[in-house]
């Protein structure tokens, strides 16, 4: 199943299977916005069902200028791994930031009063030129519409696949953990492609209160795992024990997993939607216990990074330091790491063959904790990181 996930991004041949080819794309795009965009003046009922999982409504936050770009040829073709990633890199270099921010202002801002019931739709256009498609009609323009959904029981297999290596090679109740995430529909987002029959899950983001779920086998095993890894580090072990024990009432496990080359433009929206849901849940949940359970003061994050094998990199005299000490698999981890109260790394037992560029690096697990009041800073920094990258 993991192979299946990867293959969806592997060039034009596979992208055919998931992305419907819309030849009249402009027309479709405009009608879609027209049909689904909510008017700002519309009054919204006080109880907000953020998203109904059966029929997500859409609003286009992210419009890419379409017509002019059909004739444009990008000036530089960055070398990346797959045609899909190449196309996205090209798109990122060609897109005009001004126009994008204007379109965001003009369309609905995801504020509390006007957010519709439904998922946010992010339209990204790619041009996988030189794709391996043998389809004669394939004119090189493929549309990927990512939509954000509430977790549904149907997403079990996709979510489980994304979490396969969450605790390295530990045998634990992974199915239980996936079920836990899917049951919490108030806070949690699953990213899928719009109108995809396969309903493949491309990304997942959620926050789980460690006290609320303390009785679950999977959470107990997860805590054991974290404490075991922390026991080898001086100092952090006690802090971690506090967070997982007495202070667990206000501690959220931030789970964020995705396919490797998910477009980074989605990330600010993904995290915005997650943290918005957390703050809405503190008001909307039916019982006081549940409301309080989302008043997170700390977030624990378990992630993966690549660390340079030679620790003496710092002594490099050359100013153009090409090799960084840490390469972050997920861009937001860099920001979290900077803002974290404490963090530590541990070696991973699964060593996947690294791509050529990372041959001097070793993959390591990273555990860090971030205070909840640093989140607004995080959101700002993430937006500027993605916009400039």
């Amino acid at each position: 199943m993991w192979e299946q996930q990867f293959s969806k991004f592997d060039g034009g041949a596979a992208s055919r299977t998931i992305l419907p080819q819309k030849t009249i794309q402009n027309f479709f795009h405009e009608t879609l916005i027209f049909a689904h965009q909510r008017e700002p003046s519309q009054s919204v009922p006080p109880s907000r069902n953020r998203r109904s999982s059966t029929s997500p409504q859409l609003f286009s936050v992210f419009e890419m200028p379409r017509k002019p770009r059909r004739k444009q040829r990008p000036k530089s073709w960055p070398v990346t791994f797959s045609p899909f990633a190449r196309a996205l890199a090209r798109m990122a270099s060609v897109s005009k930031p001004n126009r994008r921010s204007k379109s965001i202002e003009s369309s609905e801002k995801p504020t509390r009063s006007s957010t519709s019931n439904g998922s946010s739709k992010h339209t990204l256009e790619e041009r996988p030129e030189g794709s391996e498609s043998s389809d004669g009609e394939f004119d090189g323009v493929v549309q990927a519409d990512f939509a954000f959904f509430d977790p549904k029981p149907n997403d079990f297999h996709g979510v489980k696949t994304l979490l396969q290596t969450y605790l390295d090679v530990e045998e634990w109740d992974l199915s239980g953990f996936a079920d836990l995430i899917l049951e919490q529909t108030t806070v949690g987002t699953v990213v899928k492609v719009e109108d995809d029959e396969d309903e493949g899950v491309f990304a997942l983001a959620t926050a789980l209160n460690l006290w609320r779920y303390r009785e679950q086998r999977c959470i107990m095993k997860l805590k054991e795992f974290l404490l075991l890894k922390a026991s080898q580090e001086k100092g952090v072990g006690d802090q971690l024990r506090l967070l997982l024990g007495e202070r667990a009432h206000n501690v959220g496990l931030l789970v964020s997993q995705r396919v490797v080359n998910l477009p980074p433009q989605l990330l600010p929206h993904l995290y915005d939607s997650l943290f918005n849901e957390v703050s809405w849940a503190t008001e909307d949940e039916p019982t006081e216990d549940l409301r309080n359970s989302f008043q997170f003061k700390h977030y624990i994050i378990l992630s993966k990074i690549y660390k340079h094998k030679n620790a003496e990199q710092q002594k490099r005299k050359r100013s153009d330091d090409r090799e960084e000490e840490i390469v972050y698999v997920k861009p937001e981890d860099e920001i979290f790491h900077e803002l974290s109260s404490w963090s530590f790394c541990f070696p991973l037992r699964t060593q996947q063959p690294a791509p050529h560029e990372l041959k001097n690096y070793r993959s390591m697990g990273l555990i860090m904790t971030v205070e909840a009041d640093k989140i607004p800073t995080f959101r700002q920094q993430l937006t500027s990181l993605i916009n400039e990258g």
Partner: protein, 245 residues
């Protein structure tokens, strides 16, 4: 009886193992608990062999076999071939074949009498299958899928196929294979039957996500229950049948 287990948090145990009436092959790596489940169920009755194929752990999907023989892809190394020849019973003919479709487990579904194969398999390979495995070969598709080895699990007593197989297809396949067939799922709705479970005439193993319903279907179609299923029906006949016409 069907046993539930997993391989390193992965419920696709049919990928990492191969079970026949004469032997069982298990991938190296993974924890000892995976191997020990097989040992405890099968130990003494049939040999449980730890191996890799072409240096990989996906042994279940790369090879095809039954009690008469085992077919290996051309990517199998000499050491692996020798190891298998040494470890398996003498009556099992181990053969490495030159076939461009090297995932033989995905292309061939077989029991001790009959085999279903991928429609594009070489003629030569088909002949080798007849010779080595001692079966009759039929080129078929299952629910429109050519990877017959992936979408069906077959034993001498029954078979489980892709859930979207039509009734006509089920009838046709059942006639060819001469065993009762059922269309169903494994591992909580997964359609890739052969990846999720392995079976022989006496026992079966499924991924740990398999629900109780799926498990009961498996036990019923492969006749793995200790009691005969007809006994239950006979006892209940009076309450089931309202009136005779």
């Amino acid at each position: 009886m069907a046993t539930r287990l997993q391989f390193e948090n992965n419920c696709d145990i049919g990928v990492f193992s191969k079970l026949t009436n004469g032997y069982c092959m298990v991938a190296i790596g993974g924890s000892e608990s995976f191997y020990s489940v097989f040992e405890s169920e099968l130990g003494g009755v049939i040999p449980v062999v730890k191996t890799s194929i072409a240096g990989t752990r996906i042994v279940g999907r790369l090879c095809a076999g039954n009690k008469n023989g085992l077919l290996l892809p051309h990517t199998t190394t000499d050491q692996e071939l020798q190891h298998l020849r040494n470890s398996l019973p003498d009556q099992v003919v181990v053969q490495r074949i030159e076939e461009k479709l090297s995932a033989l487990g995905n292309c061939i579904a077989c029991n001790d009498h009959v085999a279903l194969t991928h429609t594009d398999l070489d003629r030569e390979t088909e002949e080798i299958i007849v010779d080595v495995l001692g079966v009759e070969v039929f080129r078929q598709t299952i629910a429109g899928n050519i990877l017959v080895g992936s979408f069906c699990a077959l034993s001498n007593r029954g078979g489980l196929v892709h859930p979207h197989t039509s009734i006509e297809d089920l009838d046709e396949l059942s006639t060819l294979l001469q065993v009762p067939l059922v269309a169903g799922t494994v591992n909580r709705g997964s359609e890739v039957i052969a990846a999720g479970m392995i079976v022989n005439d006496r026992t079966s193993f499924c991924g740990s996500d398999t629900t109780a319903t799926e498990l009961s279907v498996i036990e019923s179609v492969f006749k793995l229950r200790d009691s005969q299923p007809s006994v239950i029906v006979d006892e209940m006949r009076k309450s089931l049948i309202d009136s005779y016409v």
